[in-house]
Subunit: 219 residues, 2 copies
Amino acid sequence: MSVITIERKVLEKNDDVAATNRARFKKHGLFVFNLVSSPGAGKTSLLEAVVTRLKGRTAIGVVEGDVQTDLDAQRVAKLGVPAVQVITRGGCHLEAPLVRQAIEAMDLSKLKVLVIENVGNLVCPANYDLGEALKVVVLSTTEGDDKPLKYPAMFKNAQVLVINKVDLLPYVNCNIEQMKRNAREINPELLIFETSATTGAGIGAFCEWICSKAGCICA
Amino acid sequence: MSVITIERKVLEKNDDVAATNRARFKKHGLFVFNLVSSPGAGKTSLLEAVVTRLKGRTAIGVVEGDVQTDLDAQRVAKLGVPAVQVITRGGCHLEAPLVRQAIEAMDLSKLKVLVIENVGNLVCPANYDLGEALKVVVLSTTEGDDKPLKYPAMFKNAQVLVINKVDLLPYVNCNIEQMKRNAREINPELLIFETSATTGAGIGAFCEWICSKAGCICA
């Protein structure tokens, strides 16, 4: 009982800071999304493909969340966009105060789009508001079509599903139509994209959606 | 600070129950391992391959942990071995009291090997002792070779690493030798198997290891 009370307090505090983050993003007219998935679903590769396509067209920045290492921020920074790494040191998800700390190090007035790449975890990040406009969940074809049913909270709390690694469909036991049906059983409102960060398939459509939200021009 | 105190109490309680579970397993001469990985790394498929190979040779039982659904226990039970599903209803890892509850429903005196398949999560289950002899972490080639560095606690706390989906190596950006080096950088003592639950590659060697631990005959 006391644990639940304290958890609620932690979430309340998180939500207060998330509201402050959201107000700051709004002030700067920033479109912010929270990118979530299992480890290895391809969040960073997807982000590299998106940044490569959009960086000449809009001002995009990235906050990278990881349990350990700054490997991901290094990958994104190589593309010439602002990237800040948050290391949770064992923590299984990002929280709003960590994001607040990360954005202190960025000039938000120069950005139009901010992507927050969460820790790879299909469970815990579902319940934490960071101040983002919405959550984008990435699910790779190699994980199998049953995952939306087995990890429902994440698919319920996301507005967009990106099914990544579609280039591997011939080699894996995954029925993509069944995967989409399972996802829509949990959340009928999900907007779904099919991508491959490796071949570039579907990246254009996902970038167009980002631009439609950020008000930039995506040729 | 109070959160940390309560967390410590929760872990202490968990460890007490884990010790009780361990004593029960020992009484029955049972070899028990805790199977952990990201969602979709192939834990259940690996388990199906292992059960299919071992069920005529030793008495194997399974506890399945999932956030939601009993799909995995259904899959394993179809093979004709005892399987109990634990549904955590949002919980991101198994705890020792949940395992105690699950084994109440099993006749342990009839088993030689018990596999506890944890919730798919490469972060949180690392810190929870369930009473098992050891943790086996499954990492699929599709997740990328950097994962041991990014999720170190799991690789540090496991004794065995199974690199699964080796049949997909030609199609993914994964250097398996680098993956092994990264894993051994975190934990030099790791015993490593390379498997494909799809083609059957390496399943024999992994089963031989299980038999060497459980004292059964694996022809």
